[in-house]
């Protein structure tokens, strides 16, 4: 008894500094925040200094206002849009991890120095040849950087490359956002300065293969080649849809995916068509109609095929995470083809416009701001913790599995899809869930430093909206309601993780 009391006292003594802070700065604020979400707390009126009036308890009015506002769904959409870069970043991280986990030394440990010198020599010569005769200062500089990276890489191995790839993620913050803001500058940024030349030559080429006529006072540009390209990309989009559907169907038929998983997959695959036609993105309405009909026809064929049910039945929501992730990736590819099709439809008209093709205005343009942010995000995401987690995941895959696949005569693609990918499923799922949770809360720093949430709210995420409402407008009660809404979304994702994440680990 005495001993027990002493133990509890000791335990509390060690905990006391931490738990004091925990109570004051974590536990109490959580409860208080919930209370604030139900009041009309305003920074200018009720800030405890001038207690002119106490905040009123207004029940769920904040939440109702949030649900009814036209802005919040838009900002939620923006947040989701930014998260579309997540599967692509993960794919790149996985590719990088596979490359880094390869044998980068071979059996040349004895003659490593000779090998090292040879590689570096080869690299510098090849770079000089590639850049041609005009040996400007920048060519020499880039060559030496290349030389340095590769030389150190052959000497040190995978750790060196991983360090270089990790740096953008590690340093990401206000500093790198300001760097990218300057790089995206439409007039003086290096990206647009590099694009001006190629775009000028592209303008002359496009003008030479298209016609501009004035019909009834309106200038119309016609170009069979680009119309053909537009339809070609649409066909590629439908083809990608078909591929994704075939894969989903096969999973479902093989019992690798449950009914709900398959439905989720199909929904993801069909999303680009729905969004594209809903938002009027298709350059020619006819083109959108054709693409939509083709996709619907493909879908109907598979629905008919699936009437008899799968050959091997599996649980309702079996394997949802892994399947959804692959179809999400295919969805991003579909969106990319849709984008290419729109670009090729508009290209000739832009080329004939005064000034020809111009580089995009990036952060200053409503349509380019989001892709610009996503490119930057990808730069930061390639070499993040994901690579380290994937490397660890790869290194514990049993070699016997690969040997067995070798015996069966599997190609490296087959080995990837049938050994590596399923074995990495828990890692992938963990990274994906963490990415979604981070993405739901993200985008504030970027919006505050680079765009101010603009143009016209194109880059405002939920967190930036919260900041604007809470600390710019001072509506702390409303901002708390936003914070709790974000929390509910995070909670849902966490619960899904608990329900399905465990299942992956035990498989």
């Amino acid at each position: 008894m005495d001993r027990n009391v002493r133990r509890t006292v000791n335990g509390f003594l060690f905990l006391s500094p931490n738990i004091t802070g925990f109570m004051v700065f974590t536990a109490f604020p959580i409860v208080f925040s919930l209370y604030m979400a139900f009041t009309d707390w305003d920074l200018t009126l009720h800030n405890m200094f001038k207690e002119t009036s106490w905040p009123r308890f207004i029940f769920v009015a904040n939440f109702i206002e949030l649900l009814q506002s036209k802005e919040f769904p838009k900002y939620f959409g923006n947040t989701l849009f930014f998260m579309m870069g997540l599967p692509l970043g993960m794919a790149l991280s996985l590719l990088l991890a596979i490359l880094l986990n390869q044998d980068l030394k071979g059996r040349f440990t004895n003659i490593r120095k000779v090998f090292f010198a040879g590689v570096v020599f080869f690299a510098s010569i090849s770079i000089l040849v590639v850049f041609g005769m005009k040996t400007t200062a920048i060519t020499i500089l880039l060559t030496s950087v290349f030389w340095l990276v590769m030389g150190t890489g052959t000497w040190v191995g995978a750790t060196w490359y991983r360090t270089v790839f990790y740096l953008p993620h590690f340093t990401s913050g206000v500093a790198t956002f300001l760097l990218w803001k300057k790089m995206y500058n439409p007039q003086t940024g290096p990206i647009n300065l590099a694009l001006v030349g190629p775009l000028e030559s592209a303008t002359t080429v496009i003008k030479s293969i298209s016609r501009s006529e004035v019909v009834g006072g309106v200038a119309t540009v016609s170009s069979p080649i680009f119309t053909g390209l537009e339809y070609l990309f649409l066909a590629a989009m439908v083809g990608t849809f078909f591929m994704g559907l075939r894969r989903t169907w096969k999973w479902w038929d093989d019992g690798q995916a449950g009914l709900l998983s398959a439905i989720v997959c199909v929904a993801f695959l069909a999303l680009p068509f729905a969004i594209g036609s809903g938002a009027g993105w298709f350059a020619h309405p006819n083109a959108g109609l054709i693409a939509g009909l083709a996709a619907a026809a493909v879908l109907v064929v598979y629905l008919v095929l699936s009437i008899k049910g799968p050959s091997f039945k599996s649980a309702f929501a079996f394997n949802m995470g892994s399947m959804a992730l692959i179809t999400l990736m295919i969805m991003v590819i579909e969106f990319a083809f849709l984008g290419f099709s729109i670009v090729s439809a508009n290209m000739p008209a832009n080329a004939w416009a005064s000034g020809g093709l111009r580089p995009p205005e990036w952060l200053a343009n409503y349509y380019w701001a989001k892709p610009a942010i996503m490119i930057m995000g990808l730069w930061g995401a390639i070499g993040s913790n994901n690579v380290i987690l994937y490397q660890a995941g790869l290194s514990v895959i049993s070699k016997e599995l690969y040997e067995a696949a070798d015996v069966d005569g599997a190609t490296s693609m087959q080995k990837f899809w049938n050994v590596t990918w399923p074995q990495l499923a828990p890692t992938t799922f963990f990274i994906f869930v963490m990415g979604i949770i981070g993405g739901l809360q993200g985008g504030f720093e970027m919006a505050r430093t680079m765009t101010g949430g603009g143009p016209a709210g194109a880059t405002t995420t939920m967190t930036f909206f919260l900041y604007e409402q809470g600390f710019d407008s001072g509506r702390l009660g409303y901002a708390s309601a936003v914070a709790w809404s974000i929390f509910v979304m995070v909670m849902v994702i966490t619960l899904i993780n608990w329900k399905y994440g465990r299942k992956h680990e035990t498989e």
Binding site: A123, A137, M434
Partner: protein, 295 residues
């Protein structure tokens, strides 16, 4: 990082293959290709940094030119930053605040982690579940009430207001607890038989053995605080108290036209992070596995 190298090499040494010149040529070509691919990607990733450093050395007139290399290397751009803006003060503020937060957080977290992992007492596990539960909450939920608390305490626009909320961390406690759990229990029993009190056990046995975990948490906390943006942005009002991220934002919004100086400032703010990472990355990897978070 031995685990990451050569893990895919065939397990058995095939001697017949080694004496075959064709195998050597193929292997050499494969390895060269891998290095080339990795290097191309790495240089692509490094390009923004290269542009940043080159621009920071340009005269102002050359900033918007397609040529990346400055005609004259202006090293005094870096000195100029300190004259144009109170940059030295920002630097000191950042390091001062980050050092205090790191010290206090590692101190309080290691004590709590010791209590949660090595001592047996009532309510321990229930309290720990409470800690874990709050870790799932987004940080922004706590920001708004914390701001009210700071107003009440009169700590808005003060260093103490920046340091205090960061000094206690559920994540740090969690990370160190996970680490301390991996230290064998038999040590505790042996120490107890020798007449060791809990403080001695903590200070002389557990803490030295948990050093890699402490270093990982130190790096995470320092870097996280060095880059922290939301809280200082909300809290700080006077320019002489600005930390680096807020100072850089202030620099950009007040004198954003001097791109070469801004890039010099950005470079100087990134350099400490790169140094920390390159020197200490082997400690961070372990922490990433235990905590699964951004470094």
């Amino acid at each position: 990082m031995k685990q990451s190298e050569g893990t895919q090499a065939p397990a058995d040494a095939k001697i017949i293959k080694i004496i075959n010149p064709k195998f050597w040529a193929l292997s050499l070509a494969g390895i060269t290709f891998k290095h080339l691919a990795l290097t191309c990607l790495a240089v692509l990733v490094a390009l923004p940094f290269i542009w940043m450093v080159l621009t920071s050395l340009k005269p102002l007139g050359e900033v918007g030119l397609p040529e990346w290399i400055p005609s004259a290397w202006q090293w005094n751009n870096y000195g100029e930053v300190f004259k144009v803006i109170n940059y030295g003060q920002f630097y000191l503020n950042s390091i001062f605040v980050a050092c205090w937060v790191t010290f206090l957080q590692v101190f309080t977290s290691s004590l709590a982690a010791f209590s949660f992992s090595r001592l047996q007492w009532k309510l321990r596990d229930r309290l720990f579940v409470l800690y874990l539960g709050t870790m799932m909450l987004p940080g922004i939920v706590m920001m708004i009430p914390n701001y009210q608390i700071m107003i009440k305490l009169g700590l808005v626009d003060s260093y103490l207001g920046l340091i205090l909320p960061g000094a206690f961390s559920t994540f740090g406690t969690f990370l160190l607890r996970q680490f301390m759990l991996s230290i064998p229990r038999s040590l505790d029993e042996a120490a107890e038989i020798d007449g060791c009190g809990p403080w001695q056990l903590f200070w002389e046995i557990v803490l030295p053995l948990a050093r890699p975990g402490l270093i990982a948490l130190t790096i995470f906390t320092f870097i996280g605080n060095y880059q922290s943006f939301f809280w200082p942005l909300v809290m700080l009002k006077s320019v002489d108290k600005f930390t680096l991220p807020i100072g850089l934002l202030f620099f950009d919004s007040t004198r954003g036209q001097v791109t070469h100086l801004l890039m010099a400032a950005v470079t100087m703010s990134i350099v400490p992070m790169i140094l920390i990472f390159v020197l200490l990355q082997k400690y961070m990897v372990k922490g990433i596995f235990l905590g699964g978070v951004k470094g």
